[in-house]
């Protein structure tokens, strides 16, 4: 066992609360604005008006709503759970405070407490270059280190970006993910609010990570953040986001759209740990365009939620572009994590790698749904996919649906998948060395996840292991 894992496990034993007390609380809030439930053109108009946004954006929203009406629900993923969503019973826009703050002291006490509990200010001090905190529909707190600002890096919430840099937003908005892509992308485009906007100028390396934190507090809430990240030629950045929500008896919807663009020679690492409570439908569309010799790396952790459907995609559009996807999903009781990755090779000598790890526990279901597409012009493309699924419990379920479409013969494509349970021999070995069965199982699960946790900043790795420990509690079947 590696030393770092050892350390992480020591950390783990100290942290042992459950989701309910750590993230599952909710604040009684007097909203600055709380609209009515349901979705229609009036709601869209109201959102647009409140944001005082340009007319072209309002038009995009209304058009997208029409697309939303016309599009069918996906027939794959989990049609049964999708049926539970009642679009008329959701609040599409909730504004907690009048304007976002850039000084933590100005943030209202109840929200501050929320993010304090989640450890956001602490993390900012320690290792982040900038932080954005979104509460319901809008970003309530935002800050970035002054020296990053001086380098010309723009890190804003999306609403502010649209006001301050409308031309850059207009140039890129919806160019990676059109509203016609799917029903949920259309919904997001119609009612989006908040999210992050990042622009890194040519040749600039941000150096330290930028982070956004998304919190859903209200019941029957829909959170529709919209994130757009553009790394200009030769620029480099690492963006991290985290998400939580309270535990309610009724369900909320999280439908984000995230568009990344890495121009020639740029590098973007996008790390996300989604740790939703079990009452969130997490239906997001995330896609990146990678131009010549650029690199996109996704590090994608999916925990919690009732249903997650999420397939981050890299479109390798320029010669020599690289895409990498490292994902982990944990499906516990009554949960379905339908996640995967897509790599679209549309230029010569592009390369991609997908590493997917999933754990299904109790009656949880983890699905890997992926796509590797190699277009005719992508001579010399290389793609590899590795899926590993661990099953814990006799009713656990794992599915693997990888699609490979290859339109060029000068390529190397490899796919491998394995499904197994925690090996009895391993358990026996560890318990014979004095570990309890719970501890042994946790250790095996942590070992299984190690390639993923290694890719995270240490603070996140510790946090992730702690979350896994919570999920694993009482797992002896």
């Amino acid at each position: 066992m590696s030393e770092s894992l050892n350390k992480q496990n020591q950390e783990l034993s100290k942290l042992n609360e459950d989701y309910e007390s750590k993230y599952g609380f909710h604040d009684p809030v007097d909203y600055f604005h709380k609209g009515t439930k349901g979705i229609n053109h009036e709601v869209v108009e109201m959102i647009s008006k409140m944001k005082k946004e340009p007319k072209w954006m309002a038009e995009i929203r209304h058009e997208a709503l029409e697309v939303f009406y016309k599009k069918e629900m996906p027939k794959w993923g989990n049609a049964e759970i999708l049926k539970e969503i009642d679009f008329d019973d959701i609040y599409y826009f909730m504004k907690p405070i009048e304007a976002k703050k850039d000084d933590w002291d100005d943030v209202p006490e109840y929200i501050k407490k929320t993010f304090d509990k989640l450890g956001i200010p602490e993390a900012e001090k320690k290792f982040l270059g900038g932080v954005s905190a979104q509460y319901e529909s809008e970003v309530v707190y935002h800050s970035m280190q002054k020296d990053l600002e001086k380098k010309g890096i723009i890190f804003l919430d999306m609403d502010s970006a649209l006001r301050e840099y409308p031309e850059i937003v207009r140039e890129h908005f919806g160019t990676v993910i059109p509203s016609t892509d799917n029903k949920f992308a259309a919904l997001n485009t119609a009612v989006w609010s908040g999210g992050s906007f990042i622009y890194v100028p040519k040749g600039i390396d941000v150096g330290i990570p930028l982070q956004a934190y998304f919190r859903i507090n209200a019941e029957n809430m829909g959170q529709f953040e919209r994130t757009l990240i553009v790394a200009d030629e030769g620029a480099r950045l690492h963006y991290i986001e985290g998400c939580t929500a309270p535990v309610y008896s009724t369900n909320s919807l999280h439908t984000a759209v995230v568009e990344l663009k890495a121009l020639d020679d740029a590098y973007i690492r996008y790390t996300t740990i989604q740790n939703w409570s079990r009452n969130i439908y997490n239906l997001v569309t995330k896609r990146a365009s990678a131009y010549k010799n650029s690199t996109i790396e996704w590090v994608d952790g999916n925990l919690g939620s009732r249903l997650t459907m999420k397939y981050p995609c890299v479109q390798l559009l320029g010669e020599g572009a690289k895409g990498e996807m490292l994902s982990v999903a944990f499906a516990g009781i009554d949960q379905h994590q339908d996640a995967g990755a897509k790599m679209i090779h549309a230029a010569p000598n592009t390369s991609s790698r997908i590493t997917s790890k999933s754990i299904s526990k109790d009656n949880g279901r983890a699905t890997y749904r992926g796509m590797v597409k190699i277009h005719k012009n992508a001579t010399g493309a290389k793609a590899s996919v590795e899926c590993d699924a661990l099953l814990i419990g006799e009713n656990a379920r794992s599915d693997t649906y990888p699609t490979m479409e290859i339109d060029n013969e000068q390529v190397r494509v490899e796919h491998e998948a394995r499904v197994s349970k925690v090996a009895e021999e391993q358990l026996f070995y560890l318990t014979s060395r004095g570990l309890t069965e719970d501890e042994a199982r946790l250790l095996i699960v942590n070992g299984f996840m190690e390639p993923f946790t290694k890719a995270l900043p240490l603070e996140y790795a510790v946090e992730l292991n702690r979350l896994i420990e919570l999920e694993m509690e009482g797992s002896i079947g």
Binding site: V67, T175, I177, T180, D181, I344, H375, K376, E405
Partner: protein, 104 residues
């Protein structure tokens, strides 16, 4: 050598419409725009759906019904995402109001 085959009569495809055909196991769609008749492969490069289910917009682009990808009828170039590459085009000629296309 171009090998032209008769595929349709110009009256079969009204202005602003398209029609799908199968020739030599190649799926083809003939588009009729203000600029004339064009033949392209009947497959969206985004997810392989027949683009003949879509429509031709005011710019003379084929719009795929499934995810809104757009292609130029004449060049096959991609004009809107989620598609990222173009589609194949076929040589087309009209003689005595009959449309001929060439497939190798």
């Amino acid at each position: 050598m171009a090998n032209f085959k008769k595929i349709a009569h110009i009256n079969d495809i009204p202005l602003g419409k398209m029609k799908s055909f199968s020739l030599n196991f190649e799926n083809i769609v003939i588009c009729h725009t203000e600029q004339g008749f064009y033949a392209v492969e009947n497959v969206c490069s985004h997810d392989s759906a027949p683009i003949s289910d879509g429509h031709i917009d005011s710019d003379g682009h084929i719009v795929c019904a499934r995810h809104g990808a757009k292609f130029d009828c004449k060049s096959g170039d991609v004009k809107a995402p989620p598609a990222v590459v173009g589609i194949e085009t076929f040589e087309l000629k009209i003689e005595n109001d009959e449309i001929y296309i060439s497939i190798d």
